[in-house]
């Protein structure tokens, strides 16, 4: 497995992580060449289906990079991205995909080296997991089909209503911790997810 090169898709927000990636370049900080970046204005724009589509389309891992919590250029887009990420993790769990294949993390515009550290570690982690399906001991073709189905599910109105409610409660509670958000998303989407994707495969 030493020659294995994971394919990683990244969604970076324009203001922090994408800028950090640029500044890493300007500073000539080197990192593994596995990441392919899609620039979005804000991680808040991340549709819940995008990471799942990425995995379905051939990614072995997906990274979402935004501004540090509290520093979103658009106030709270990255908190909404955490809600989206929680749904992605829920879906991955149900499909039996290793959760470590999806990461949401932060680097400010001034943190080129931090971005490099995050990507280097994530790439190493993805390399250890091997191609999609291998650490899961699942048929990759079937797995990608299921992921495409899950992506479609993430565009389902009922699921998205659940996310709206989770986002609303998160804003109301002011608790932006990942565990709290994961709990909210689980509460709001569990039933529909079970209906559409099925129980956790684990």
């Amino acid at each position: 497995m030493s020659d294995y090169q994971p394919k990683i898709l990244g969604f970076l927000c324009n203001w922090c992580c994408y800028t950090a990636a640029d500044s890493a370049g300007v500073g000539r900080y080197q990192y593994p060449p596995n990441l392919r970046v899609i620039r979005i204005m804000c991680t808040g724009r991340l549709d819940p289906s995008f990471p799942l589509e990425g995995l379905a389309a051939g990614a072995d891992a997906v990274f979402v990079g935004g501004c540090h919590p509290g520093e979103c250029h658009y106030q709270d887009g990255n908190y909404h991205a955490l809600v989206t990420a929680a749904l992605v993790h829920e879906a991955l769990t149900r499909l039996g995909v290793n959760q470590q294949r999806f990461l949401i993390d932060w680097a400010s515009a001034a943190e080129g080296p931090n971005f490099v550290k995050i990507i280097t570690q994530f790439t190493e982690q993805a390399a250890k997991l091997g191609p999609l399906g291998s650490s899961e001991r699942l048929d990759p073709v079937l797995l990608r089909q299921n992921l495409a189905m899950a992506a479609k599910t993430a565009r389902d109105r009922k699921i998205r209503m659940g996310l709206i409610n989770a986002s609303k409660e998160m804003m109301k509670s002011g608790d932006f911790s990942r565990t709290a958000i994961a709990g909210l998303v689980h509460d709001k989407c569990n039933k529909v997810l079970t209906e559409l994707i099925g129980e956790s495969a684990l």
Binding site: G25, R36, R45, E53, A56, A110
Partner: protein, 1020 residues
């Protein structure tokens, strides 16, 4: 101060400015001036604008590609209908008064008609007369008919009159035959032009250290002794060796390279007893790049002091030194000798008195900056005074004003300085002109006209892909031609090519031609980052009749070639993937309507110190109402802690006078004991709540300036606060201004530099402390010449003309002892309270520890920025690890924040001196007034739009929109969401949360991103 501003504008001021010099400072000034509604005549002595920066390969401290960041500015200036560029032109005389000058210009012939020349280069091909290639420091060959460099603006060739056979011997004339455009004009004569201008900005740049001085170090005698300018060209992809660093003598890669500093600087023998301020840092840059070119090269740098005092410079230098294993020696080798075996022998003495010698393969002379060669002539023509080093004379509190009202100076002619400081000064001078000519704003301007947009809505995608070499920045790692060939096969692509520099002016014209010729309707440029270069290419699209939203970039430099330098194949694969993804997205791009939003024509300045007050005054003088918010009781800030400047004047008087002018200015509203409670909005339309004691107040404004300042570091070390004998420099200043500054018993004073700085507490250098120590040492000596003063220092950073103070201090007997961070001096109490302190430190000259008794110990402490955490979060602007505000671009946008409409100046940006603070505050004020003077802004149309067919009126978008930019119209049934285009900032949270996916984002559409994702999946 503000000499120009106080000048009453005479009858009918002219709304035009003459800028003398087309280097980065002059070009930036020109762009800033047109942004402020003033027409510009930009005159340049040579055949093209760009100046020295265009000759640099890279720029420190980030090692950004120099031309890559400069070229967009050159192109922008070349395109601007309100900038008239006059090349081969010089100022002969300047008559009249501020507001109404007549500038007499001599314009030498180019012998090739600029308007007709297509830049094809046939004339050069046929030219028989070879000349040295001046752009490449004469390391290469050019022809009498030539262009300086590929990206030159204007993109027109010209003929060297001294060399041309036709002009001198009436023979040849082949170029005229070869030129299909019939642009050759041998009969052109010198023209004398009289230009009517309201003010003048002098930006002639720098002169070169003479060949005689370089010759002392073997330059001109030994082939492998290079000037730094020559070395820079060798490093550059567009240089004479195509970017290979080869020894001129044998064309081999040098394995041992020595950099000698202070060539022609800090050298009384050549009349330049000033520090050139930039060479320490550019040597580090060149050394780093030399290692990048040849990782086995061994590099030695010979320093007197390492003066890397700029923002982030120390960190960049330390990283480079460690990563590249540089050997740094504190010594000044007096000469270079040839040892007849291809080696160059250096001998030097280290501080411990030991002599050393060693051979090197190549020696690079870090030459300093001089005043321009024709400084006296220019000074006379412009009617301004020069200082004793022939730089323009300016005042400490009016750093950009010359001795003649209405005439300003910026860049290296104001004093040796680096690019960001030059760019800053350009913005400052533009602001001063704008204040002086406020009444004439817009009177001389013509409007830019774009051709009508082609309607492409019914066309199939015809995508053009342009893959950039970026010199060797991309092509040195990525196989650009392979990527180009790959792009040609992608769906929708009808044209693909590669360019050496996609951002050069000739490439823009080329792009326009290709777009028209091939009827392209989507453009993908595969080059650097859209964050810096998208606006340039989007302007080109508009020139070609395409909507600017039909553009996409693939970032194969900053996020590919630069970060995978050792993996060319993987980087090329990645570049292919990124291009494929960009092309896939491009196919889904649609034209988006432009929006124009009104601007609230007023400003908010946060912080009432020297920077904030100067910024507020400079904005108000330009005609715009300004609110100044200060949290303290009074205006003045920390400048009030200083009691004298290095010229013996009391800054407190100037600041008090400034505060008086600010308070009484009809357009400035001062709020003391006030803080910013909240900010919302965006450039042109900010709404800020100011919390005051009496309550809070809401202010609407178009722009804002952060000038929150800094404070002195509070030392706990060296018995400060425990012994009355230990003071900081500021505390000493206070005492020096008192009625009894020194007791008669005082015999000996010790100062320690870098207390808390360049170490664990403040990792950065605070820039001003060395100058302050020198100033105070001289003040002490003036009070009591018998006083013995020791200064423990690490590097005496007496940059620029501060070197005069350093020299004077040494001449007056002040003793300087260098210490290392591993072995700093220690302080012990005396036997009793009345007995002196003991300072024990290692003296490298003596090679042993010395114990000094001192009556007074003065600590040079650094500057700490005011805590930016609350404000920076409120404004969504980034700060550095050191808690200074991070500018949008360290070189070319030094006072802009990443968020449009927000600017920074003073200590909130980085430690700096008073004159630097004033210039920067003026620059921030100038940049801030650009949207205000334009009166409207055209933000990128990346807004949300709602498909009413799909919308179910649930209102989730309204709940989550941070800008109230999407609402449910409750009056209409069924309820539907609606975007308020003017308020939408394009974040897209509404689209991500819409339950029915009824909302999509301009340029970042669902289909576009899905196309990118799917294209990612089809990897090569």
């Amino acid at each position: 101060m503000h000499a120009s501003i106080s000048t009453p504008s005479t009858t009918q001021a002219v709304g035009a400015v003459l800028v003398v010099g087309g280097g980065v400072a002059g070009v930036q000034a020109a762009l800033d001036l047109t942004g402020l509604g003033l027409k510009v005549y930009l005159i340049e002595k040579s055949g093209a604008i760009g100046g020295v920066m265009a000759r640099l390969d890279k720029t420190f401290p980030t090692n950004d590609c120099s031309l890559c960041i400069l070229a967009p500015k050159l192109v922008e200036a070349g395109r601007d209908p309100n900038i008239e560029i006059l090349t081969k032109s010089e100022l002969i005389s300047l008559d009249g008064a501020p507001g109404n000058f007549t500038a007499k210009i001599s314009k030498q012939p180019r012998y090739i008609d600029e308007e007709v020349c297509t830049g094809c280069g046939q004339c050069t091909l046929y030219c028989l007369k070879q000349i040295g290639d001046d752009y490449n420091e004469n390391l290469g060959i050019s022809n009498a008919a030539h262009i300086d460099y590929a990206q030159a603006v204007p993109t027109s060739y010209y003929i060297d009159a001294k060399a041309c056979l036709m002009l001198n011997y009436q023979t040849c004339g082949l170029c005229a035959v070869a030129c299909q455009a019939k642009a050759i004009r041998f009969d052109q004569k010198e023209e004398i032009l009289d230009l009517a201008v309201g003010s003048v900005i002098l930006a002639p740049g720098l002169g070169r250290i003479t060949k005689e001085v370089l010759g002392r170090y073997g330059w001109g005698k030994f082939a492998d002794v290079l000037s730094a300018f020559e070395h820079e060209r060798l490093m550059c992809a567009s240089g004479p060796t195509g970017g290979a660093i080869l020894r001129p003598s044998d064309k081999k890669h040098p394995k041992k390279i020595a950099f000698l500093q202070c060539i022609g600087s800090r050298d009384q023998t050549c009349g330049n007893n000033y520090c050139s301020s930039v060479c320490c840092m550019y040597a580090i840059k060149q050394a780093t790049l030399a290692r990048e070119h040849d990782p086995s090269a061994e590099i030695t740098l010979f320093y007197m002091d390492i003066r890397t005092h700029g923002k982030g410079f120390d960190a960049a230098r330390e990283r480079a030194t460690i990563e590249n294993n540089f050997r740094v020696i504190y010594a000044r080798p007096p000469r270079v000798e040839d040892v007849f075996d291809g080696g160059l022998l250096l001998t030097w003495a280290t501080e411990d008195g030991k002599h050393h010698y060693e051979k090197f393969d190549m020696v690079v002379l870090s030459q300093g900056l001089e005043s321009p060669d024709d400084a006296e002539q220019l000074g006379q023509a412009a009617g301004i005074d020069l200082n004793n080093y022939l730089f323009a004379q300016t005042g400490n509190y009016s750093p950009l004003a010359t001795s003649r009202s209405g005439v300003y100076v910026i860049g290296a002619f104001q004093g040796p300085k680096d690019i960001p400081d030059s760019v800053t000064q350009a913005g400052g001078a533009a602001a001063l002109c704008s204040g002086q000519l406020a009444a004439a704003r817009g009177t001389e301007m013509t409007k830019a006209v774009f051709p009508e947009e082609r309607d492409i809505s019914s066309e199939e995608p015809r995508i053009g892909v342009f893959v950039c070499h970026c010199g060797i920045n991309i092509a040195g790692v990525v196989d650009v031609r392979a990527v180009r060939d790959y792009a040609r096969e992608l769906p929708g692509v009808v044209y693909a090519t590669d360019n050496l520099y996609s951002c050069s002016q000739d490439t823009q014209q080329h792009l326009i031609n290709i777009i028209r010729e091939h009827r392209l309707n989507r453009i993908v440029v595969s080059a650097c980052t859209p964050r810096t270069h998208e606006p340039l290419f989007q302007a080109t699209l508009r020139d070609a009749g395409l909507n600017r939203a039909l553009f996409e970039m693939a970032n194969i430099r900053d996020q590919c070639s630069w970060v995978h330098m050792q993996e060319p194949e993987a980087a090329t694969d990645k570049a292919r993937d990124l291009v494929r993804m960009a092309v896939a997205k491009a196919a889904h791009l649609t034209a988006l309507p432009e929006q124009q939003l009104p601007v609230t024509p007023s400003a908010l300045v946060i912080g009432g110190g020297l920077a904030g007050m100067t910024a507020a005054l400079t904005i108000a003088e330009q005609g715009f109402p300004t609110t100044l918010v200060e949290q303290g009781d009074t205006l003045g800030g920390r400048t009030l802690l200083l009691t004298a400047d290095r010229f013996g004047k009391d800054p407190r008087l100037t600041v008090t006078e400034l505060a008086h002018r600010v308070k009484n200015h009809p357009r400035i509203s001062v709020r003391t004991r006030a803080t910013v409670a909240s900010v919302s909005g965006y450039v042109g339309n900010f709404t800020t709540t100011i919390a005051e004691k009496a309550g809070s107040e809401v202010v609407n404004h178009g722009v804002m300036v952060i000038a929150t300042g800094g404070r002195p570091y509070e030392p706990k070390q060296y018995l400060h606060g425990q012994s009355e004998r230990v003071l900081t420099q500021l505390e000493l200043e206070h005492r020096l201004a008192s009625s009894r500054p020194l007791s008669a018993k005082m015999k000996q004073v010790v100062m320690i530099q870098c207390v808390g700085s360049r170490g664990a507490d403040l990792v950065y250098c605070s820039r001003v402390c060395c100058g302050q120590a020198l100033k105070n040492a001289l003040r002490l000596k003036a009070l009591n010449p018998e006083l013995t003063i020791f200064i423990y220092y690490r590097d005496m950073r007496a940059y620029g003309f501060l070197e005069d103070d350093y020299r004077q201090a040494r001449e007056l007997g002040v003793i300087f002892i260098r210490y290392t961070p591993e072995n700093p001096p220690r302080v012990l109490r005396g036997h009793s309270k009345s007995s002196p302190l003991k300072v024990i430190g290692y003296d490298p000259l003596l090679g042993e520890e010395v114990e000094l008794e001192t009556d007074l110990l003065v600590l040079s402490v650094g500057i700490v920025p005011e805590d930016p955490s609350i404000l920076s979060r409120m404004l969504k602007v980034p700060v550095t690890a050191d808690k200074f505000y991070l500018e949008a671009h360290v070189k070319l946008r030094p006072v802009d924040m990443a968020v449009d409409g927000i600017f920074v100046c003073g200590l909130a940006h980085a430690p700096k001196s008073m004159d630097e603070t004033i210039a920067q505050a003026q620059a921030a004020a100038g940049r801030a007034c650009q949207p205000l003077s334009r009166g409207s802004i055209s933000p990128e149309p990346i807004v949300s739009h709602v498909d009413p067919e799909l919308c179910i009126g649930c209102g989730a978008c309204e709940t989550f929109c941070p800008y109230k930019a999407i609402t449910i119209d409750k009056a209409v049934k069924p309820r539907k969401a609606q975007t308020l285009t003017a308020s939408c900032k394009g974040c897209g949270v509404c689209a991500a949360r819409c339950p029915t996916m009824a909302i999509d984002m301009g340029r970042f559409t669902f289909d576009g991103i899905m196309a990118q994702i799917n294209a990612f999946g089809e990897s090569v």
